[in-house]
Structures are given as structure tokens and as C-alpha cells.
């Protein structure tokens, strides 16, 4: 089905109100998740199973923080103050996934963030590569180019642990916990970030289609790694009770205070450079 795009939006002002709000919410959700995900990657720079994996975590942490910074900056056009977004919000205003509330305590938990959550964010970004919202076009390809390596890292480790009895069991357990929140993150079938975003050509897929794309991306990896995860078969099992549509997550919970202070950079605030 091809669609003729009639409108190109050069600034948020050009967008109809509901579309503008939905887009700002989506960009903020992506930015917050990437900011906190970067922190979770960063926590594994020391202590990953191999030296190379620790270095990879360092690189991925840097990427996520770069992406978050770019995304926060785009929200300036929506009359948000990026400094406030980055450094002055309380934990319950962060739109991070519940998977990021606490540090990944074991390596398979980090891999669940790496392979599952990170790629869910990428699927959402990818849906904007031909967006009618022009300012985002100058950013998406760079983000996705860097994300390719994150996916390959997660994939490589899934295969590696899949070959080990104990590793496979731990990985299955970690992935099983993460799949539901990732599938739900795209939003309810009837809403997501708003049907308006699709109709306005800002994104090219609704929540169900994004879920399908994400599954299409991760399912072959899970199969390759020999993981058995019935949770990925269809979306019938999605549970929406207690769903918070604004935060795109189960309503309860938030970042712990220590992580929040680090994410916001509280201690070194006076030395900020930009």
C-alpha cells in the first residue's frame, strides 16, 4: 500500500496539536529510555564477562547518551527546555521502561536490555526514517547506523550463551521477563503514540505493526540461539491492566534515587559544558 505524502512539517508549529503532543511524548520516551539505558550499559564497563564486552558496553553507553542528547535537543523546538529535561526532573517524570528501573544485576539481564529493549527503541526510530516531520530526518540514520552494532553485540552474545546449558537457561529467564514490557512499550493497539502520528506521516507504522517488526527482528536471533520463548508467539498474551499510557509502562515504579542522581548529573552540575 503506497501512500502519497502531501504534507511536510518543517517545525512543530506546523503540526496539528494532537500530533505535536504525541510526537513530543514519543521523542521524550525515546530520549529517556536511551539516557537510562546508557547508564545501565555503563554499569557493565567493569565486570562484564570479557574485557571486550566491557569495552563494547562503554561504546554503547556513549552512543545511547549521544542519542539521548540529540533527542532532548529536538524537544527544544517543542518549547521544552532541554536543560530541565536532562537535569531537573524527578524520577516519576522519567518515561523509562520498567526494565530500566533497576540495574541489570546479571549479564543475561544486560543482554535482554541490549538485544530486546534497545532494538525496540530502534524499531520506533526506524519508523521515522521517511517521516513527514523534517527535523527528525537529519538524525535518524545516524542513530540507526550506530545501533547496528548494538544489535550485533546482543546477537553475538545470545548465540554464545545459547550454546551453554546454564547460559541458555539464564538467558531464557532474563528474556522472558523483558519481552512483555518491550511488546507493550509500542503502546496499546488502538493508540500507541496516537493514530494521528501515522495519519500525519510522522511515523509509518502503528503499534501493532511496530510489534510485528520487532518480533521479526528478534525471533530469528532467538531461534539461532536455540532459545525457547513462547512469549514471542503472537501478541494475544499482552496484558494492559495497570497500564500507564503516558509512561508506556506498568504504572508502578520509577528509577531509584541513586540512579536518578547519576542520570541527571546532580553532583557535577556546576561543571556542565553545554
Amino acid at each position: 500500500m503506497s501512500k502519497t505524502r502531501t504534507d511536510v512539517f518543517k517545525s512543530p508549529d506546523a503540526l496539528p496539536e494532537p500530533v505535536r503532543e504525541a510526537l513530543a511524548a514519543m521523542l521524550l520516551s525515546l530520549a529517556d529510555n536511551k539516557r537510562v539505558l546508557g547508564m545501565r550499559y555503563g554499569e557493565w564497563i567493569l565486570g562484564a564477562p570479557t574485557l571486550e564486552a566491557g569495552i563494547a558496553c562503554s561504546a554503547m553507553a556513549q552512543d545511547e547518551w549521544g542519542h539521548a542528547r540529540i533527542l532532548y535537543a529536538t524537544l527544544k523546538d517543542f518549547e521544552f527546555e532541554p536543560t530541565v529535561l536532562e537535569h531537573e526532573r524527578p524520577a516519576d517524570e522519567y518515561l523509562n521502561s520498567e526494565l530500566l528501573d533497576d540495574p541489570a544485576t546479571e549479564w543475561p539481564d544486560l543482554l535482554a536490555l541490549n538485544l530486546l529493549l534497545d532494538s525496540a527503541l530502534s524499531v520506533q526510530v526506524e519508523a521515522m526514517t521517511e517521516s513527514s516531520y523534517e527535523p527528525i530526518l537529519f538524525k535518524t540514520r545516524k542513530l540507526l547506523e550506530e545501533e547496528r552494532f548494538h544489535f550485533e553485540h546482543g546477537r553475538g552474545w545470545a548465540m554464545r550463551l545459547g550454546d551453554m546449558g546454564a547460559g541458555r537457561a539464564a538467558l531464557e529467564a532474563a528474556f522472558r521477563k523483558a519481552i512483555g514490557p518491550c511488546l507493550r512499550w509500542f503502546g496499546r493497539p488502538d493508540s500507541g503514540f496516537g493514530r494521528q502520528l501515522v495519519d500525519a506521516g510522522v511515523v509509518n507504522a502503528d503499534a501493532d505493526e511496530l510489534r510485528r517488526r520487532w518480533l521479526e527482528r528478534i525471533t530469528p536471533v532467538l531461534a539461532e540461539a536455540g532459545l525457547e520463548l513462547p512469549e514471542t508467539e503472537g501478541k494475544a498474551a499482552l496484558e494492559w491492566e495497570g497500564w500507564n499510557a503516558d509512561r508506556r509502562r506498568a504504572a508502578e515504579g520509577a528509577l531509584d534515587e541513586e540512579t536518578l542522581a547519576r542520570v541527571r548529573g546532580d553532583r557535577n552540575r556546576s561543571m556542565l559544558m553545554d
Binding site: Q62, K139, R141, K142, E146, D274
Partner: protein
């Protein structure tokens, strides 16, 4: 034909830049002790024929004397400069960075601005950042590749 230009790290902050960390700090001294005075890190720039035809070309030539903060290679040779436009005495430079979280963003912007403002005909410098098309190593020029190899960077 090329000639060697010794790098001089440019220091001052750009106009309006006011951060706690930068105030009172002399970056040029820091860099002089690291790469600025190291003859191994001289920057190779093209030997241009004749004077520049216009302001845009003058800016383009000048940018060849702005080095990447990490490697002895100019920003155009690294493939970071996407567009140079000139209107009256204003030069607008569109650049990208190698990584979205490049830690040298501010240094690079300062260096561009400082060098361009040394040109008598340039009064204002506007720097735009874009991420599209994404930078890849394929954007490095042949001269840049040779410079990197000389510095021991495999490419």
C-alpha cells in the same frame, strides 16, 4: 603538492559561551603540551594555486588548517565538512561528527570559528550540525588516509 603546517591549538571560547569549567582555563596551553608542538603531528594541507576566488573558497581553504582534536588530519580530509556557504561577510559551515556522542564537539566548533575569524574578510561564522548523511570512514579523503596511516591509525 602539499606543505606542512605546524598545529597551533586555538583556545578562546566562542562568543557567548559561558561555562564554569571554561572560564579562566587556557586550553591552548593544555594542547601545546600534548599534540600542538609535536613535530610528528604536523598537519598536511594542500598547496593552493593562486588566491581564493571568493569568500567561500577562502573559508574552504582555511578549514584545511583546522585539525581534528584527536588525529593529525584536517576536518575536510576527515570528511566532516558537508557544506560551506558565504553571504557578504558571513560564512555558514555545515558539519557532522564521527559519532553521535563525540566528546570533541565544542573543541571542533571553537577551532573552526577561531580559524575562520582570522580571515580578514570573514566577520561572522555560523556553524550548523547535521547527522545526515551519517559519517563513515568512506568520507575520509586519500590525503587524510595517508596522514592517518602515518600516525599509525589503520584505515
Amino acid at each position: 603538492m602539499t606543505k606542512l603546517v605546524q598545529l597551533e591549538r586555538r583556545s578562546r571560547a566562542d562568543v557567548g559561551y559561558e561555562s564554569e569549567i571554561e572560564r579562566g582555563m587556557d586550553f591552548s596551553a593544555v594542547f601545546a603540551e600534548t599534540i600542538g608542538q609535536n613535530p610528528d603531528f604536523a598537519l598536511e594541507v594542500p598547496e593552493w594555486e593562486g588566491p581564493p576566488a571568493d569568500l567561500r573558497e577562502a573559508a574552504w581553504r582555511a578549514l584545511h588548517e583546522v585539525a581534528d582534536p584527536e588525529f593529525p588530519i584536517s576536518l575536510p580530509d576527515l570528511g566532516l565538512v558537508y557544506e560551506v556557504e558565504a553571504v557578504d561577510t558571513t560564512v555558514r559551515v555545515t558539519i557532522t561528527f564521527t559519532a553521535s556522542a563525540c566528546p570533541c564537539v565544542e573543541f571542533i566548533k571553537w577551532d573552526i570559528r577561531e580559524r575562520l575569524l582570522e580571515e580578514p574578510s570573514i566577520e561572522e561564522v555560523v556553524i550548523e550540525v547535521t547527522w545526515d548523511p551519517p559519517w563513515t570512514t568512506s568520507r575520509i579523503t586519500e590525503r587524510g588516509r595517508q596522514a592517518l596511516r602515518k600516525a599509525g591509525v589503520s584505515i
